[in-house]
Symmetry: C2
Subunit: 418 residues, 2 copies
Amino acid sequence: MSDGGSRELVSINGKRLWGSLMELAKIGATQKGGVCRLALSDLDKQGRDLVVGWAKDAGCSVVVDKIGNVFMRRAGRNNALPPIVCGSHIDTQPTGGKFDGNYGVLSGLEIVRTLNDKKITTEAPIEFAFWTNEEGSRFVPVMMGSGVFAKAFTLEHCYAAKDTAGRTVGEELSRIGYVGDEEPGDHPIGAYFEAHIEQGPVLEDAGKTIGIVTGVLGLRWYDCVVTGMEAHAGPTPMALRKDALQVATRIMQETVAIAHRYPPYGRGTNGFVQVFPNSRNVIPGQVKFSIDLRNVDSERLDAMDREIRSFIEQTAAATGLKITVEQVSHFPPCPFEKGCVDAVRKGAEKFGYSSMEAVSGAGHDAVYMARLAPAGMVFVPCKDGISHNEIEDAKPEHLEAGCNVLLHAMLDRAGVVG
Amino acid sequence: MSDGGSRELVSINGKRLWGSLMELAKIGATQKGGVCRLALSDLDKQGRDLVVGWAKDAGCSVVVDKIGNVFMRRAGRNNALPPIVCGSHIDTQPTGGKFDGNYGVLSGLEIVRTLNDKKITTEAPIEFAFWTNEEGSRFVPVMMGSGVFAKAFTLEHCYAAKDTAGRTVGEELSRIGYVGDEEPGDHPIGAYFEAHIEQGPVLEDAGKTIGIVTGVLGLRWYDCVVTGMEAHAGPTPMALRKDALQVATRIMQETVAIAHRYPPYGRGTNGFVQVFPNSRNVIPGQVKFSIDLRNVDSERLDAMDREIRSFIEQTAAATGLKITVEQVSHFPPCPFEKGCVDAVRKGAEKFGYSSMEAVSGAGHDAVYMARLAPAGMVFVPCKDGISHNEIEDAKPEHLEAGCNVLLHAMLDRAGVVG
């Protein structure tokens, strides 16, 4: 059969996809319509069991690795070829929604079911996967499963990670029965795709259905501390002050100004601020705050890094206040492989979906997969760009469209036998 | 005898003053060298009892009013005249020092002792007083005792004020035995003087011993709330953000800029900042912060008020974010009576102390007394301008000088018989 000619365009069952999303969302459902299904909790086990059960019912073989990543495989004609994999995660934030992660996983399930229905055989095997503890809200680091798989962290390091109650990842994985035999990373991947809600407002704002994700923004996170001298707000004349907040707010203004100087993908945010002693009539003696800079390529991100450091240095010299800045996290930008990006683009074109190139501002498991194999992502709009919130919402027709694009991108890489 | 001719300049005993300060500071002494003696606590009772005992030993009669203000009186020749009163408070901040308040009270004791030693009779009686709960750290409002005395608050309102443990001022005053018979305010005052550490850096910076306080800055306190929209720091492009912190920091910069436009006494401070949700990778959706504007005359303070309101209005219009600003406190500027200011000046001149005119940036009981009687204040330097801190410090020779000036200012107003 044709792999997507206009005569017979293979497409997924949007209602069935929506149904499986709603079914999985019952596990850990919150009163406000969201989901709380923290990594390696009893609810996570129930969610995992449900998805694995569906996969087996669809004829998949299931492999679990030692960090609890689960790969569900539909055989191809030539099973010596590395599988074409899609995936995401099914753990959620404490106040998470129904779609973040779950959509990418259940799109894979829907694709397997569709291929079964249509009796399509692919050349390479197809897999869909869920990665352990992507959210990082119960256990740090985030994107733990895919990170271990990509050798960004060791298994031992992650096994030892504790939640606030003191329970470790190793204990909890074992307790819920998801310590597999396979060494993380000992699993070939021919190409990796991830469908995800955008978690931002760009597609909605532009009125587009499909985001052809060309890469993930790199980021640099800093902790900045300005130290002045606390003093009474009344008795201390302006000229004798060492007001840490006034100096900190200059740097906050510059954080955003720098982002504006590196369009269109420059981002600058101060999300966290702590003022000491934080009393109405005391001039702040110390302000700690975060700086978050992002851009799409390393050259620009590095330039933003130089600008903020230089501004801080000049500000310290000009004001005489002590200012320290420490980089606490650095993810280089992650451009996706051109072939995968094009496969996504072609998928959207086949269906005539409105689309645009997009970048991901947030991290995803696909960032780690891109270190190992050609990778790409498909974005669909989410309501008001809101995610990590119980009111997270997405339209069934957009989810269906994204899954169709994912299907055809995977078929493009896997090859269709008949 | 002469009231301060160069032939025989009456002066206090600096060592004895220092000794009584150190003795009182033992009650509630902290390990770091400060004092924690919260209003109406057991320690406050011990401190009150000590001072009242000293006053009685010095021959004073003692009157307590219904809010626990205590007046210790040395009779004059004409006791029908209203007394010349000095005073301050002996309650402290939780991390208070040895001098704030206590200095003003024990200077009064030292003056009585000195007049006794020198067998000086004044025309009008001399009193020294301590006011209940000036600090306001255990019970709100601050300057409670002098405020009730000046009818700024009712007795009932203040009796009902609760600490965090739910105990009321009325219960605690009664428990420590300091509910007197006199109606607050039913106590004549001929003139009022208050000696105090500066609690600011101006005298130290200028190398002066005595601050001739011409008045107390007026203040306006505001709560400002900027409401934007929280969103992920990564996926949200700069153009689609409603970053509440970026807008709030503009207003913070303007707060200080306005103060600089109304020199030399304009003050502008943002002491309190609360960012929501205050997470590193979330664009702040809301920022609450305080604005504190002060100046020495109402016209300038009102102009500062108009400027900040206008700036906030323009900023809301320019950014489209909702900004509310609410004035939560307003003390008009309080100029001291010229005669009292001159009495302080003459006192400093008699001793040849270096001096300068100064304003008080902080509130004092003298502000309420100035509503009832001619009033003035004497400032002495404190180390690094630091107060409300266990490391608060002052030099014995400065404290002695300030007490000498206070003595002569009081004698100037009371008149010396012989």
